[in-house]
Amino acid sequence: MNLNELYTQIITENSRSKENRHPVEGATHSLEGVNPSCGDDITLQLRVKDGKIEDAGFIGSGCAISQASASLMIDLVKGRTVEDAHRLISLYFQMIKGKITPEELDDLEDVAALQGIAHVPARVKCAVLAWHTLEEALDGEGKTDKVTTEEEA
């Protein structure tokens, strides 16, 4: 394992970034995502209006991978349509499985920094927590609930 591919500057800095770490005013969706075995725990909040993600934020704690992944995800999907967000979520899961084309990877922008996780199976569940939570939140019409990625392990 090459640590420099895993813990890139984008990941270490975003893992500590406060920018997206806040509750969302007038949130229409709020969902907690947990990895029971390692204790990663994030609550994702969204304000969706007219099919568009107007604002998004998260609060929680966990490893650098889970926290950077949540923050980078919010940077990517904020301001986009729900439909587009679903497309990006699918691309992200493709990337984590190591099955993505260079063109598709471009669409993920800075999130591509998490590409190295594909080679570290033990940390995949950290990387997908926020994304599963987003997917469930968008599908669940804003019910406040809990989602877990434990089966991913």
Binding site: M1, L3, Y7, C38, G39, S61, C63, A64, I65
Partner: protein, 403 residues
């Protein structure tokens, strides 16, 4: 002395790299002596014990009962005070279900420490819920050790069971077992000792400690997974109803009901893991060959070296008093501002295997005010070089994280 060569999984690869395995508190590796004993059993003695009348079945019965004798001696107990189980978890569940569920009532109290492994906590939570007994938690002091004041406060005439780990799987510190037993017996309570983390490192003499139950797992002391033991003081097993029921645990079965086998067999339903038991006995023989004094001296020196290195790292926090005295096997820690899973991944990249997580002790994590931590644990095959590899790689952690 260096025992590493006995453990094939720890041999260096063609590039001279060797796994620095510091997760023995989760499970130990196995010496050839144990692996050979298991192969010998399956090549020469395997049949279903206590069933066949043919010679091979007799040999399997001898292997099963011979292993029980070795385990009994290990605990300084009698053969009929030892029940074979799958592991410590099953041993503790057996006590909780067969003793706790039947002999505890509303108004009684069960006393455990907040530092217990979930396996010595969740079964008691269930017993408390089912019987109406109250579960009372003891809390360690500043240095991670239980104080006599806390024992005096929590062990009262209402106490019927005190269940504690002899050595905490997170803090690594030995509980004041003698002080606990004195107070528990004075009020007529039984003492259940979880020896999962102590039996691999220091003698568990149940007569000298005067405990009523003791549980351990073979896989944490150089033997295969899937076998463990429960010691129960003579007389206790007789009054307890069976835990699981079925084959081989019966006296006689009729349409109208059944009677139970005598002694430990009442608690050994179904075909046993005899190969594992043989490995368990071989591991005890292996440890006996080394001797407690040599083992304790070797492991104490490793912990002393590790803690000295860690005390010099101002950005690292050790849980429990950071000294090797009264500590067995385990050092838990966090690198400040870095999540334990990231620490473990970075150490792994340097060839060092440590555990990161809540260590099946979530209430202790809450008590310590942390979500999780890293744990480095040592066994007889570790060397000072292993400890140095851990310390060197720790120096790298904050740099990798850009701190």
């Amino acid at each position: 002395m260096n025992w590493t060569a006995d453990f094939p999984i720890l041999a260096a690869d063609e590039n001279g790299n060797r796994l620095v395995y510091l997760d023995s508190a989760a499970t130990t590796q196995h010496p050839m002596q144990v692996l050979n004993a298991v192969v010998d059993y399956y090549t020469k003695e395997n049949a279903n014990p206590h069933r066949g009348v043919y010679e091979l079945a007799m040999r399997a019965t001898d292997a099963h009962e011979g292993a029980r004798h070795t385990v009994a001696q290990f605990f300084n107990a009698e053969d009929d005070e030892i029940v074979f189980t799958q592991n410590t978890t099953e041993s503790l569940n057996l006590v909780a279900y067969s003793y706790g569920m039947n002999f505890l009532h509303e108004g009684d109290e069960i006393v455990i420490s907040v530092a217990e492994h979930h396996s010595n906590m969740v079964p008691w939570q269930r017993v408390a819920k089912a019987t109406g007994a109250k579960l009372v938690y003891m809390y360690p002091g500043e240095n991670g050790r239980l104080t006599t004041e806390e024992l005096d406060k929590k062990i009262t005439p209402k106490t019927k069971v005190v269940a504690v780990a002899m050595v905490s799987n997170v803090l690594g510190l030995r509980a004041p077992v003698e002080e606990i037993v004195k107070r528990a017996h004075a009020v007529g309570a039984v003492v259940v000792l979880d020896c999962a983390q102590s039996a691999p490192h220091t003698p568990v003499d149940v007569k000298k400690l005067d405990v009523d139950f003791a549980a351990c797992s073979a896989h944490k002391l150089y033997a295969p997974m899937g076998v463990g033991a429960l010691y129960a003081r003579a007389g206790l097993l007789e009054k307890m109803p069976p835990f699981m029921s079925g084959g081989d645990m019966i006296g006689a079965v009729h349409e109208s009901g059944a009677t139970w086998a005598d002694g430990p067999r009442k608690f050994e339903a179904g075909t046993r893991n005899v190969g594992g038991e043989v490995g368990f006995a071989a591991a005890i023989d292996y440890m006996k060959g080394i001797g407690w004094e040599a083992m304790e001296t070797h492991e104490h020196a490793l912990l002393d070296r590790m803690l000295a290195g860690m005390r010099a790292m101002p950005w690292l926090t050790v849980y429990g008093e950071p000294v090797a005295e009264g500590r067995y096997g385990v050092v838990s820690f966090n690198v400040n501002d870095v999540h334990p899973h990231d620490v473990a991944t970075i150490l792994d990249a340097g060839g060092v295997a440590v555990r990161a997580g809540h260590h099946c002790a979530q209430p202790l994590m809450e008590f310590l005010g942390i979500g999780s931590c890293c744990r480095a644990s040592v066994a007889i095959y570790n060397t000072p070089e292993d400890v140095d590899a851990l310390l060197e790689n720790l120096e790298n952690v904050r740099k990798v994280m850009g701190l």
